[in-house]
């Protein structure tokens, strides 16, 4: 796509005025994956977590309040929708907006869990995600200031976006949940509601895969 040997052929472009979203072979695969896990979050019933009694052979099943799981599902679906948007966005600013929304909804997915370790991890992850929005929007702002546009269509292959802007975009997305800023997510994974907690990882990973494509393209 864009006559660049990076992401395979163009499949479809969806215009919203001057904002043109696109599906290449690469972004379409990411979109389908995000869609798959969003559907799974909608249709899957959560697991019934079993815990081990420390120092013995006993097991017990934890009871999770249904209203907590409903809220988790709502946030997971919101996260899935934001991820879908980020996968096909043809505009740098929209991409950063979707990225920030993913960061917020990721915290939301575990915010209702009444577990000290999970809440502390979510709090720490939230701080990193919020701080990461500075380089994220900073990268987009520098790209706009130097080129006069945020459209990936116009920037593709031109090499006009400074390396600093690309690095800030990548660092910003990494702060939304990739290594080495992701470690709080290990504790978050203790939260119940597998189809919803999984969306935290799906969104972060897909976001990173998309920003790599953007950094190589613009």
């Amino acid at each position: 796509m864009f006559d660049l040997p990076i992401e395979g052929a163009e499949l479809l472009a969806v215009e919203f005025g001057d904002i043109v979203n696109y599906f290449s072979v690469y972004t379409a695969v990411l979109f389908v994956f995000a869609l798959l896990f969003t559907v799974l979050a909608i249709i899957s019933r959560p697991e019934k977590p079993v815990d081990i009694v420390f120092g013995g052979d006993a097991y017990y099943a934890k009871k999770i309040p249904p209203e907590q799981l409903r809220f988790q599902r709502f946030m997971a679906i919101a996260c899935g929708l934001a991820t879908l948007g980020a996968m096909i966005s043809g505009d740098l600013f929209n991409f950063t907006l979707f990225s920030s929304m993913i960061g917020i909804t990721n915290i939301g997915i575990v915010a209702a869990v009444k577990n000290k370790h999970v809440l502390e991890a979510a709090y720490q992850y939230g701080i990193v995600a919020m701080v990461a929005t500075v380089p994220l929007f900073g990268g987009a702002a520098i790209a706009l200031a130097t080129t006069g546009t945020l459209s990936i269509w116009e920037l593709a292959g031109a090499g006009a976006v400074p390396l600093l802007a690309k690095m800030l975009l990548v660092v910003g997305v990494m702060g939304e949940g990739m290594a080495p800023f992701y470690i709080g997510k290990a504790e978050i994974t203790r939260a119940p509601g597998a189809p919803y907690v999984l969306m935290i990882h799906v969104s972060s990973l897909l976001l990173f895969l998309r920003v790599v494509e953007i950094a190589l393209t613009v």
Binding site: G8, F37, L209
Partner: protein
């Protein structure tokens, strides 16, 4: 395409068998026959199967299908000379399969495996540094272009040795019995696959066989260039045996050590890529 898929699954399972045999011989044990993993898959395929009462049932089954789909896509991309970026996107999506396997069952052992899987996500960072290095040298991320570049200029193994080492560590991290394989460590039973048995385990083993085939073949294609199938097969076995030696002689690392080593490798490769970017 389906014949390639079946071929790759069987070869991948055979490679798993060779891996186990080599590890056993290095450790002074007789080890299982090399076709043992194929027999395992056949056995599991006909075992009684059900879904644990505590599991998220849809997700429990879906991750198995996704695992097969993910690696089938990777094989397709590799064989058709598609985008390297897509191939490694698929590799990273395997991480979601690992999380999903552990989380979906409700088992505490599966959950420990999933938590460790999140921590070991650091292994994906050297991967993208590798991609960046290859892109800087060859000017393309299409596997067909990279092969053409190597046909004209010689193997990338010599031109981009640090990138090859980074990918080698990535492949090592995904091997059974690897020092980085903390997600399936025995102190947490079988980690994230503890509760998947019967047909589900057969499907997973087939997908993991496919994964091993794709990763080894991708390494050969990316760093040694195009070669006849028989020669490629020999190169894959040699590569596998080198990995088996490391797996046989290295203890399982602690989860935090795996992260330290992988992040350290990633840091070195990023420095290499930045230097190369400046020089190029």
């Amino acid at each position: 395409m389906i014949e390639y898929l079946i071929f790759a699954v069987f070869v991948g399972l055979l490679l798993h068998g060779i891996h186990r045999k080599a590890i056993a011989r290095i450790q002074g044990r007789p080890g299982p026959p090399i076709w043992q993993e194929i027999l395992h898959v056949l056995k599991f395929s006909f075992k009684e199967t059900w879904i644990p009462a505590t599991a998220s049932q849809t997700l429990f089954v879906a991750v198995v299908i996704i695992a097969i789909g993910v690696w089938s896509t990777a094989l397709f991309v590799l064989l058709t000379g598609g985008s390297l970026l897509l191939l490694f996107a698929v590799y990273m999506l395997h991480k979601i399969v690992e999380h999903g396997l552990g989380l979906s069952s409700g088992s505490p052992y599966g959950k420990f495996g999933a938590i460790r899987s999140v921590m070991s996500a650091a292994s994906e960072i050297p991967l993208f540094a590798t991609i960046a290095a290859i892109y800087l040298i060859t000017g393309s991320l299409m596997i067909s272009d990279i092969q053409a570049w190597q046909a004209a200029h010689g193997p990338l193994l010599f031109t981009a040795l640090p990138a090859a080492i980074a990918l080698y560590i990535v492949v090592l991290a995904k091997m059974h019995y690897s020092p980085f394989a903390v997600i399936e460590s025995k102190e947490i039973v079988s980690g994230n696959v503890t509760e998947h048995f019967g047909v589900w385990r057969a499907g997973l083993e087939a997908a993991f066989g496919l994964k091993t085939f794709v990763l080894l073949y991708a390494f050969i294609v990316l760093f040694l260039g195009p070669m006849p199938l028989l020669l490629a097969a020999v190169a894959m076995v040699l590569l596998l045996l080198s990995l088996s030696f490391i797996c046989a002689l290295s203890p399982m690392l602690s989860p935090f050590d795996t992260v330290t080593i992988q992040i350290g490798t990633a840091g070195l490769i990023v420095v290499y890529v930045l230097l190369m970017g400046v020089i190029v």
